[in-house]
Symmetry: C2
Subunit: 307 residues, 2 copies
């Protein structure tokens, strides 16, 4: 039987990488086969590399080309975020926790829940199908949940995520708060990288009212680490917006301890975006917007409904 | 807490009505609440009426207006098949076994499997969540599975459907083949109705390459019951196509015992449709097309890929 590649979105983050590893294992067990193979669609970010090193697990291989491959998608469903070259008819399943923008011509398996991370959904699938989670996957699942829920601070967090994080922390004898802070410190290491790498650390494309928008997010424990680099990042954003025909590019820089964000936006959309988020320009970026933490719950829906 | 209406598609069929009843019960049990209320979006067809009478279960109330109602969709996900007046933001979940064409702006629960009926998926959910299926729902679920899989003859049938149908038949001491034939005889009673009722007995709208198509299906144990009425049905199809701005309307008349269909098509698309299905005109309809049974697996994908 031909392999099925279990892949996440481009610019993979921790939840996407852990989900492809865990979902491939889960599907092989459930369907009593070994055809499901995990893969990363791009280089891992600093946080993901740190976590896999920390728990001594090998990263899945990088798979960049979707042509003539059967695919099971984790942690995304929108065409703009998918592996290059794929055909919709090659997609056999989806597990995700994002909004939907999906169209195909044959029925397939879809498992979506409005929970804080895809890893929480996969953890629940293991439980429901009574399949044992391999010991080495458990700390990775916990880290992915902590990362996507911003240590339970994000408005995407649900009681289900909280219950599973506490359960897993206890089972592994790990203090989830401490582990969470450790992860977000590793994430902060990105601020020493090239501006292009900073922008693409966690970056997704969205089709909004027929126009393409790129939205990046940086989650840090302190703005000081990055503030001096806003100028060069904005330049890269403008270049990329022109070259790749975006209607606009946003970068949301989130202070996870003070629970709020500032926004960088390309010139063409800056005034409109700052107006939508009821903020003003302050230097190269917006003023601090208290409470703004989630791209998924607080940025994308506003753009979808207002642009 | 505000009610959530668990509703199927317009022109409800047995799988859609049974699914809304069973899914509302399942969700109330799972979420330990009583806010989920089943509803039918339109009059039931002759088959559904027969089955609910046969097993002495009350049909869910008819709900025609989706405005300001929170909705959990069963057995459909496409905008054209949904209750009138709904907003996408009112949809809290979907359980379905069709192709997808769905777009929203906030994550929600989606459970989709490429199985023969939505009832099979709901049966599996009860099992996975260890919730007991009420005794009165069991024969209804079995009938819905038999109806949607054409007594296991449709190419949409999977080993999962077959296993569940046999399991349920045994548990209820019902011969599933006999019950299936009884159901399809009840379905045949539609041929005595008005041409408009015949066309709308099982009728769905599809957006295909930006154009609206209406596709009806009649599943009968014998063509003779209907052949003399093709002329008046075609007239109604032309009227409706013009009035409701369809690019075209199809009626697939399926002989379930001889396992094949003939197609009626409105003038504007007739030549193109007959060409796609490699058939010729024979009287008002096409010639018999052996093996053509499933709108979902054999008609809609061809139109999607070829029109």
């Amino acid at each position: 039987m031909e392999n099925i590649f279990v892949v996440g979105h481009k610019n993979p983050d921790t939840d996407t990488v852990v989900s492809s590893l865990a979902m491939a294992h889960f599907l092989n067990q459930r369907d009593k086969t070994d055809i499901y193979k995990p893969g990363m669609v791009g280089q891992p970010n600093t946080e993901t590399e740190y976590i896999f090193n920390r728990f001594k697990v090998e990263l899945p291989p990088i798979v960049l080309e979707g042509k003539n491959k059967r695919l099971f998608l984790v942690d995304h469903n929108e065409a703009g975020q998918m592996i290059e070259g794929h055909a919709v008819t090659d997609i056999v399943g989806i597990v995700d926790h994002h909004k939907f923008d999906f169209k195909n011509s044959e029925p397939l398996e879809i498992i979506a829940r409005p929970w804080g991370s895809t890893s929480t959904i996969i953890y629940d699938l293991y439980e429901k199908e009574k399949i044992a989670i391999p010991q080495e996957l458990k700390p990775l699942l916990l880290c992915a949940m902590l990362s996507d829920t911003v240590i339970l601070r994000s408005p995407t967090t649900t009681p289900k995520d909280e219950a599973v994080i506490k359960e897993l922390g206890k089972a592994l004898a790990l203090d989830y708060e401490e582990l969470g802070v450790e992860i977000f410190k590793a994430k902060a290491a990105v601020t020493e990288k090239l501006p292009k790498e900073i922008l693409h650390n966690d970056f997704k494309d969205f089709e909004i009212k027929g126009g393409k928008y790129g939205i990046g997010q940086l989650e840090l424990s302190d703005f000081k680490e990055i503030a001096s680099r806003f100028g060069e990042i904005l330049e890269i954003m403008e270049d990329e917006s022109t070259q790749n025909k975006y209607r606009g590019i946003l970068l949301i820089v989130t202070d996870i301890l003070n629970e709020g964000s500032i926004i960088l936006a390309t010139r063409a959309i800056e005034a409109e975006i700052f107006h939508l988020f009821k903020t003003k320009k302050s230097g190269p970026a917006s003023e601090f917007i208290p409470g703004l933490i989630s791209r998924k719950k607080q940025v994308v829906p506003i753009l979808n409904d207002s642009l």
